[in-house]
Amino acid sequence: MDTLLDVRDLHVEFRTRDGVAKAVNGVNYSVNAGETLAVLGESGSGKSVTAQAIMGILDSPPGHITRGRIFFQGADVLSLHREARRVLRGARMAMIFQDALSALNPVLSVGDQLGEMFVVHRGLSRRDARARAVELMDRVRIPAARQRVGDYPHQFSGGMRQRIMIAMAMALEPDLIIADEPTTALDVTVQAQVMELLAELQREMRMGLILITHDLGVVADVADKIAVMYAGRIVETAPVHQIYQRPAHPYTKGLLDSIPRLDQKGQELYAIKGLPPSLLRIPPGCPFHPRCPMAQEVCRTDEPPLYEVGPKRGSACHFWKETLGG
């Protein structure tokens, strides 16, 4: 398969009044056409900042990409001129945000916002753009699209607004879509509808999809592979089935053990002790060592590389063998 996106050794830092926050520290991942990569992590793990760097929408200043390269369809996008990146964005890579209500413009009708994509990128007339907007709304199954194309975002429910966001991202049939927590703000029954729609459109159009989430459950049946992030690093990568059965990093294992399960009633939940580190002061060695039940002397001093622990599997833990075995 041809590689669509290749992120190599990406470093992003935020220079703030309190110091330098190292949000992303050497992230590597790649996505092929038609493939879904789930990026999993808690708040502050750097999962969204990586996505913003790929899209070229990082707030700068205070954000700076200090090292690394991002290849999209073979081209090094970080070396591209601003104007060239703007053409990429929307047409060839698009993003779906978590909170559709604040991502949509409240004073423009959804038809205008959807149509704008065609006016700006394809040079269509307003009237033709409007017709395309209706088609798109039909495609994401918004009932009575023709009547509702002139409605404003607040007139739609949360699930419908997220569908409009999806329609907008799909509008120009991009090759890559980055969905940042697309269903976090939605109720479970609506979440199921939206995830199904997203997966179906992706299959149809053979796009690459990066799904950013904190919910281990949501990604289980849509992702092909998973990258788990902690303190700006990827700590584990694996094809989706294997990670749930045999995690190779103590953090992934702790996360899986700490979620209450619908089909099991346990007593005490396993809890990862302590808190995620401040990005201003990331612990030396393995950033997870202060919270890790397996930590030893070497973890405090040496930062573990991403060891190859199996076919297409990596784990940044000195004791991955013990984690896999135990």
């Binding site: 949360g158 109720d187 509808q193 459950g217 989706v240 209450p260």
Partner: protein, 342 residues
Amino acid sequence: MAEAILEVRDLVKHFPLTQGIIVKKQIGAVKAVDGVSFDLYRGETLGIVGESGCGKSTVAKLLMNLERATSGQVLYKGEDITKLSGRALKAVRRNIQMVFQDPYTSLNPRMTVGDIIGEPFEIHPEVAPKGDRRRKVQDLLDVVGLNPEYINRYPHQFSGGQRQRIGIARGLALNPEIIICDEPVSALDVSVQAQVINLMGRLQKEFDLSYMFIAHDLSIVRHISDRVGVMYLGKMVEIGDDEQIYEHPTHPYTQALLSAVPVPDPESREHRERIILSGDVPSPANPPSGCRFRTRCWKAQDKCATEVPLLAVPERFKGADSPAAHESACHFAEEKDVVGAA
């Protein structure tokens, strides 16, 4: 566990919708809670689940009398809270405390942790004499797993999980019998959620608390609850113990809700049947006639549009010694295992 500490009977809350600025005319009402009844037993955890807009948070506010009920009763030890005011209400509230969802907005940023946790003592000075308060607050910090030396810090110096612990300490200050928790962990990261849930479980045993645990996350509710009630559009549609609800649900909405929950295990997912509901939740200002779920239900028939199903043990399961014999408000209640129990 026979003693009911709180009895809720036919509770109704309608928020009026008005038109006009000078002369206000009522043109309708948002039926946020529309006839809800249940009991809370001593020492148990009753989970309430439902999607946004189903009225679960309004129920919580009605129990505290933070909102005035339109009609119905909330009986605490035989006394109707909805009718109380002034001193009598204050006395009852001492025994019913609340923990809120958002630990970032429910703590005053200008008060120290000591002042926040000690504030309940200002309102109920009989609980702790003035000289004793500082020590009491430090004890409470210790109980919820925070360093007692943090007493002079401000909320912004704490992480989300630590703040929720402060909120819990404040809830415990007056030695209440009942704690109402409105989405207490949904704003927290996964690895911190487990810490707070374990803490709440430990405190319940230690202080013999009754919890009402309101959440939209069905997995967490199952973990912590003895009994679970499912709400939809202002009504309780099904209630029972955790095995009855999770392994033998009989209401189609409960079944759909359960089947939609993502389970972090691709293996077990393949054995699960997924029910994907069509459409959105209707507006509570204009709920469907008859059964409120009928517009999204795959079993709906003419009867569902005309007759409101009552919350009762369905006729066909009556007297049966089966976990399916629990209260469910559906004309066509039948058992269905959607979780794929392990």
